[in-house]
């Protein structure tokens, strides 16, 4: 019985926090967020030098071959920094999809490039009707002599603009499990990307239209509905980990402010109204962190519990982050409502995390259904 991080995982956490504090402090985060692509090539290159994009990529394809808990530890720090860029979507979700479902040809072409930092993958899952279940899908893949032909519109695709390839979920029939994942190069004929203007400035979102896009047989990932579920699980865990880090950051910001800001002749942190708000964040956050670690561990080690654990983590961690961010803004008073103060970046990222890949009610329903209620 050991429910804790290994020494290596703790080192990863320390070095990530240290690296991001120097390479992506709030001022740098704001600069990247203000720049149209929403990412810093320099930062991406430095992360590649540290081996981050290949963290969960098998060693034979140039990665470190680590697991989802290692990735969660790293993503917690990225969330703490509100680091902009495609990292989470590419290194945690697309990389997992390729590693789990790709044939050698796909892995050699895309997974190796992803691990080296030479390519990024984007996940095109959410539909125009905001649905995640295959039965909600309008995007379809029709069998043709040369492979599958994909038609339809995906929405809210993170970092489509800078992606080298997409992982596209498409319906292949009328059944609830008739879903397949395809790898589509961003420059494939028939792919059109229309940027969306997102509230969260640390993320880029786009609408991606697939107009008769041909996916050759090797571009179809193996695993069907099961793989799709796993990819959603990876996404849920990744966003949950980012959320835990973000919630920690807004707590730290609010506590620091409450120690220096004075009213009525005292630091506002000496007033119980402020103390209780901060304590409530702690009481939400600490158990949620343990739940996210468990879900990340279960993803690799406990296949039968993994889907439900991921749903639990996503439902809880994202709600905790949003609530923490709201409280932390309030604790700052007027300054917290300004553009000048940094906290609104985390506040908005919390809202994106809460919704993307399933809001808490969606995941609670999954918890109930998978738990046999």
């Amino acid at each position: 019985m050991d429910f804790g991080l290994t020494e290596e995982q703790e080192q990863l956490r320390e070095s990530a926090r240290h690296f991001l504090a120097s390479e992506c402090p709030a001022q740098k985060m704001r600069e990247i967020a203000a720049d149209a692509p929403g990412l810093s090539p320099e930062l991406e290159r430095k992360m590649a030098q540290l081996g981050w994009p290949g963290l969960i990529v098998p060693e034979q394809f140039g990665g470190a071959g680590l697991g989802m808990l290692d990735m969660a530890v790293l993503l917690e720090e990225c969330g703490y920094a509100a680091m902009p860029g495609p990292f989470l979507f590419s290194a945690a979700i697309a990389a997992y999809a390729l590693a789990a479902g790709g044939g050698d040809e796909i892995k050699t072409r895309w997974l190796r490039a992803l691990a080296a930092g030479d390519a990024t993958g984007a996940v095109a899952i959410v539909e125009a009707n905001d649905g995640l279940a295959p039965s909600d899908f309008a995007v379809s893949a029709r069998t043709a002599p040369a492979g599958a032909v994909i038609n339809g519109v995906k929405m809210f695709v993170p970092y489509a603009q800078s992606a080298s390839f997409f992982i596209v979920a498409a319906r292949t029939g009328a059944g609830a499990r008739d879903v397949e994942l395809f790898v589509v190069p961003a420059n494939a004929a028939g792919v059109k990307i229309r940027p969306l203007k997102a509230l969260d400035l640390t993320r880029r979102l786009a609408l991606v239209e697939f107009d008769g896009v041909l996916a050759p047989p090797e571009a179809q990932l193996r695993g069907g509905a099961d793989l799709y579920e796993r990819v959603l699980g990876a996404g849920a865990i990744a966003i949950s980990a980012d959320s835990i880090g973000g919630a920690q950051r807004v707590l730290d910001m609010a506590v620091e402010y409450a120690k220096v800001r004075e009213q009525f002749g005292k630091p506002i942190g000496s007033f119980q109204a402020i103390k209780h708000a901060a304590a409530e964040i702690v009481a939400d956050l600490e158990p949620a962190r343990a739940l996210v670690w468990y879900a990340a561990y279960a993803f690799d080690a406990l296949p039968r519990e993994a889907a439900r654990a991921a749903a639990m983590a996503k439902a809880r961690a994202c709600e905790v982050y949003s609530r923490a961010a709201g409280k932390a803004v309030l604790m700052h008073g007027g300054i917290g409502f300004t553009w000048e103060h940094d906290i609104h970046f985390w506040f908005k990222r919390a809202r994106l995390n809460e919704s993307l890949f399933g809001a808490p009610p969606y995941h609670r329903e999954r918890v109930a259904a998978l738990g046999g209620y």
Binding site: F3, S270, V282, A288, A290, L302, A368
Partner: protein, 396 residues
Amino acid sequence: MDLNYTPEEEAFRRQVRNWLDENIPTSGLRGFDRNADRDKSTLEKMKIWQRRVHQAGYLALSWPKEYGGQAMDPVRQSIVNEEMVRTRAPALIGAMGISMVGPTLITWGNDEQKARYLPKILTAEEIWCQGYSEPGSGSDLASLRTRAEIVGDEFVVNGQKVWTSNAHFADMMFCLVRTDPDAPKHRGISYILIDMKSPGITVKPLVQMTGDRGFNEVFFDNVRVPRRNLVGKLNEGWMVANATLFHERNMLGSTTTTQMLFNRLKALAAATMRGGRPLTHDPVFRQRLADLEIRVEAMKYHMLRQLTDSIRGRNPGLGAWANKLVGTELNHDLAAAAMEAMGDYALLARDDGHAMDRGFWPYEWMFTLGLVIGGGTSHIQKNIIAERGLKLPKSR
């Protein structure tokens, strides 16, 4: 991270489970023992039960061997705790002694005190109660005024304690008294051990909102206590008491009770029909149930994380300050959800003939609220998290 138990631990768990299956008394005591009314014969049975647990080697597993413990790691202790809850073993009547005064004496007591008190804590020959709160000193415990003056070889104690659980049958009390009224409030307090049969002690029952007699007022009128019953140094009782609170917070109680409450709630919802379908399929209640289960699971891993810290010999981090707040509120929320599921049946007292499940949930709903209050209300817990955990400035 590895959530598997070793083969040795699994074997130990089976051994504990088998022992419990064979030894749990079949009449009278079994089950959630929330009833604080304890008549003489129940009390005697409970003492016998604790003695048997002790003889089997399943009590105070982490205490050193020389004091009757087993010197085992916290995993073994958590296995025993889990199995006791799971098999609905009777409560341990001497829990206050085992989890609070015992560890304090192991840390602060002198050899004579350890030899005199520790064995009888385990054998349930002496039941302990805690003399902390006073009518004027609840959340502000350090303002306590029960006075102990030194006269010769004795303390002479005058004053009053309140909310004293088990005082009506306890043999001993660990008590905070003011020994220096002129010192700053935290520095004039001493931690002493009082024989409850001493002349001058009057115990008056207080009836709880549940209708049970669970706690008491205790009055001291020139009660004489030998000076050798002082634990730690004179006027340093606040430090000694904080060590006890530390033990209380670190009681690596498993969350098995909470999980069992959730399972019972889920079974209730599945069996309750509303509008032609079970409540588990009501979209609103289903969401609430899932939310509660998620919180129960989060708490489980939160505690496992602290168990791991304790095995690794590390201080539990910031999160440990939140255990009491999160755990007690979660139990109360589970009971409140069950009350909603029961509809008007939640309105019946437990001795009504139509009461569901012999009034388990309405009782639990009230009982768990008591736990949200006792040992520092949620408001106080939030102050503690903020001041000790987050180092926000004190407001006092």
